[in-house]
Amino acid sequence: MVFLLKQIFGFVKLLNSETGHIQIAAGIACGLILGFAPVFSLQTLLVIVLLFFFRIQIGAATLAAFFFKFVAYLIDPLAHSVGSAVLELPSLQALFTTMYNMPIVPLTRFYNSITMGSGVISIVLAIPVFFLAKALVVKYRETVYARFKQTKFFKALKATAVYNWYMKYEELYG
């Protein structure tokens, strides 16, 4: 929990910095896949491993996964239709039979219509969501954060000793 909170605070900090917009966008795209996938599945584990090994913003991914879980719940009927259509494609039957009888692969639960549908939708949406998130982060920094920095409240906050101590701590321990 502490790790998760630290990552979420890290996300807020990174969002308000001048760098890391790609990490945030990648985190949101991964969060989309996480949110659409079943909690206990192989694909969830794979995404978590990716988050762990690559410098993808985990806080952004966690928040995005939480948000997209609700979206996934709402689009279950659509996911079921898409999944059924994919699983019933005659050209893919041989592939699915092989996958179904392979070790490990069935742990993805790809044979379930909703899992397959959600998976397909999340992979298709991941790329546009990545670019959209990247653009939105840049836009946010240029407009919202830049304007906030000019407010008297922010300037007053920057002048306090607490803020300076915090900045020093950040510089030393990151």
């Binding site: 690559f54 719940y73 279950d76 039979t97 009888n101 070790p103 069935p106 044979y111 379930n112 909703i114």
Partner: protein, 672 residues
């Protein structure tokens, strides 16, 4: 001042932060270090720690020290090799209960990746039983007994009952009878009343109450006065010379009224007859029960006086029962283990009872099927080979080959029964021609566990069949062959043992040391079968009978559910002994039984006969009264019917006469 301090203040700002790459090195590096440590542990220490763990668990399970030479595991081959396993014999710590030189396991990665354990090959080589140890094994103190299930209790109670039955010392009791113990003296010492005696008293009281009730009922039946009244009323009714049809109608109504009253009286008689009949049946049944109780009392007295039943069946049971029961107990032990570790298919009720709670699904969707992904059970030993070579010094070492196929924790999923077959000879024990097959079929609701075992020949030395203070009887030297079958189908057990004990050839010297008797002395080595009895006459009878027996057959079986086992034991030894006892002992037994019968007669029979006579007398009286009453009522009803018919006929004739007269007048008038 300001110029001097400016560069120092600007230094941290100019310090450039190192740019971080796309890989999270601060997480990846510790992870890789952790993986390296885990690998190093498994590479250098895991096998040793596993060996210690196995020794610890094995020692606790066995109750005595278990040693393992070395253990080798391979992750990539999914294999395990265990060498030099020694399991100390709890009863003889200088020996190994079992010793295995090499055990090999190779598992299937295909199953492991599906979360299942499938052992492709398992070899257990060079097994030796009873091999000597270099140093004595450590023996653990015995564990306190654990709680038992209801089924265990039923099973144990059944076996304890059989044990009790087989522990009857028939020959010892025969010795007492031959010793001249007087049953009359012993009977005098038996205190307390017999069960039948109490029952007779109860019946007498009950009969007295019933008799009183019967009398009361008879008194309520219609009496002569009632019939006289009805007769008077019947006579008073007008039967002829009716002035009008209305008069006839009135008479008919009066007849019907009297008939109904007579009918009501007959119903009362009938009800009384039925009620008394029911009571009488109850009393008759009680008298029959009394006879059964008398018979049981006689049996109990015979048991208390230890009067033996010297027929073939009882003798065979008494001689071979304990031996057979040992085999039954062994079979029961292994059957219970098989049911515990390889549970049969669950019934619908059992499945419902142990169903896991289901999590609330977001949306289930549809699961498509493209084959059978879960075709492995959780544990599956596909094939195991067992071999053993005869080695000197180990009593139970022999040339044995065997195989074990399809051992699993979930037989219904695997769809194959577990089979174990073994064949071999144990020259050191002169145990030859061992051929066994174990079938454990738990695929269906009706689980079957079966063992078929044949032994071509094995020596029997100093095997005591009866070992009591009065008599010791058993095999001195014999060569036996045996066939054993044990089957547990559902909850029904069936065990058969067919053995043949032969006189050994003159030059054959069994290597087995004879067991000492309860008194600490071995049986006298006089030949094939031998017996020793305190009573000289019994000694003479037994040895006379045993000398002429060339071979002994034993055919024993037990079947039924655990709570109702039916034992059947037959042996020619029983037949021979029954013949030998026939003349000498049967007379004395008959005499003792006659005395018991006389005692029972004296205390119960008189009362029982008196009660029966009283009952018969009372019943006859009641039957007569009811019969008379019924006859009387029937007669009166007939009278009423006759009077009614007469009245109707009289009126009918009168009307016919009048009609004829009118017709004749008309004829005259018209001059026909």
């Amino acid at each position: 001042m300001a110029e001097q301090t400016a560069p120092a203040a600007a230094e941290p700002k100019t310090k450039k932060k190192k740019k971080k790459g796309p890989i999270r090195t601060e997480a990846v590096v510790p992870f890789l270090i952790f993986v390296a440590i885990v690998w190093a542990y498994f590479f250098f220490f895991f096998d040793t720690h596993l060996r210690h763990g196995m020794e610890y668990v094995g020692t606790n399970a066995n109750g005595a020290e278990v040693n393992i030479g070395n253990v080798r595991t391979s992750f990539w081959k999914a294999s395990l090799e265990i060498n030099e396993v020694q399991v100390t014999d709890v009863d003889a710590p200088m020996k190994n209960k079992i010793q295995i030189e090499k055990m090999r396991w190779k598992m299937m990665w295909d199953a492991l990746l599906r979360g299942k354990i499938a052992i492709e090959d398992a070899s257990i080589l060079e097994i030796a039983i009873g091999a000597p140890r270099k140093r004595p094994g450590r023996v653990l103190p015995p564990e306190p007994p654990s709680g038992k299930s209801a089924f265990d209790k039923v099973r144990e109670a059944a076996l304890a009952k059989a044990q009790d039955e087989f522990s009857k010392n028939v020959l010892g009791d025969a010795a007492s009878i031959l010793g001249g113990a007087d049953p009359s003296e012993q009977l005098k010492n038996i205190q307390g009343s017999l069960k039948a005696e109490t029952m007779v008293k109860g019946l007498q009281e009950e009969f007295a109450k019933k008799e009183a009730a019967w009398k009361q009922r008879l008194a309520s039946l219609p009496q002569a006065k009632d019939f006289d009244d009805l007769q008077k009323r019947l006579k008073a009714v007008k039967k002829d010379n009716f002035g009008s049809p209305q008069e006839l109608q009135t008479s008919i109504q009066q007849f019907d009224g009297i008939y109904k009253e007579a009918d009501a009286k007959i119903k009362a008689v009938q009800e009384t007859k039925n009620a008394i009949g029911t009571d009488s049946n109850v009393v008759q049944t009680s008298l029959k029960d009394l006879e059964a109780t008398v018979r049981q009392d006689i049996k109990d007295l015979e048991a208390r006086l230890k009067i033996p039943t010297l027929d073939v069946k009882s003798l065979s049971k008494s001689i071979f029962g304990p031996l057979f029961l040992t085999k039954v107990k062994q079979a029961e032990f292994y059957m219970a283990k098989a049911r515990t570790y390889m549970p049969p298919k669950k019934t619908a009720e059992e499945k419902a009872e142990f169903a896991k709670p289901k999590a609330h699904a977001r949306e289930k969707g549809i699961n498509y099927k493209f084959g059978r992904p879960n075709s492995y059970p959780l544990f599956w030993l596909k094939h195991a080979a067992i071999s053993s070579k005869y080695t000197k010094g180990a009593d139970w070492s022999g040339d044995v080959v065997g195989k074990l196929i399809d051992v699993t924790d979930d037989p219904p999923v695997l769809g194959r029964p577990t089979l174990a077959t073994f064949k071999g000879d144990f020259p050191a024990m002169e145990l030859m021609g061992v051929d066994g097959k174990v079938t454990i079929d738990h695929r269906t609701d009706d689980a079957v566990d079966r063992l078929d075992l044949k032994v071509g020949s094995f020596p029997v030395m100093g095997q005591k069949l009866i070992d009591s203070d009065e008599v010791i009887l058993g095999f001195d030297k014999a060569v036996s062959s045996s066939k054993f079958m044990a089957e547990l189908r559902g909850k029904n057990v069936k065990i058969e043992l067919n053995s043949l004990f032969k006189r050994p050839k003159a030059d054959q010297k069994p290597s087995v040391t004879p067991e000492p008797s309860s008194a600490g002395t071995p049986l006298p080595s006089t030949g094939f079968l031998s017996a020793q009895a305190k009573q000289p006459i019994l000694n003479e009878i037994l040895n006379g009978a045993l000398n002429d027996i060339p071979e002994v057959t034993l055919n024993a079986n037990v079947q039924g559910p655990w709570n109702g086992l039916a034992f059947g034991i037959d042996s020619n030894l029983g037949t021979e002994l029954a013949k030998a006892f026939d003349k000498q002992i049967q007379l004395k037994i008959a005499e003792a039984r006659a005395k018991i019968q006389a005692l029972v007669n004296e205390r119960i029979e008189t009362e029982r006969a008196k009660l029966t006579a009283e009952f018969n007398k009372a019943k006859a009286q009641v039957d007569n009264v009811i019969k008379e009453k019924q006859a009387e009522v029937d007669k009166f009803k007939k009278q009423v019917e006759t009077a009614k018919n007469e009245a109707v006929n009289s009126q009918k004739k009168k009307l016919e006469g009048e009609g004829q007269k009118v017709l004749d007048d008309l004829k005259n008038k018209f001059k026909f």
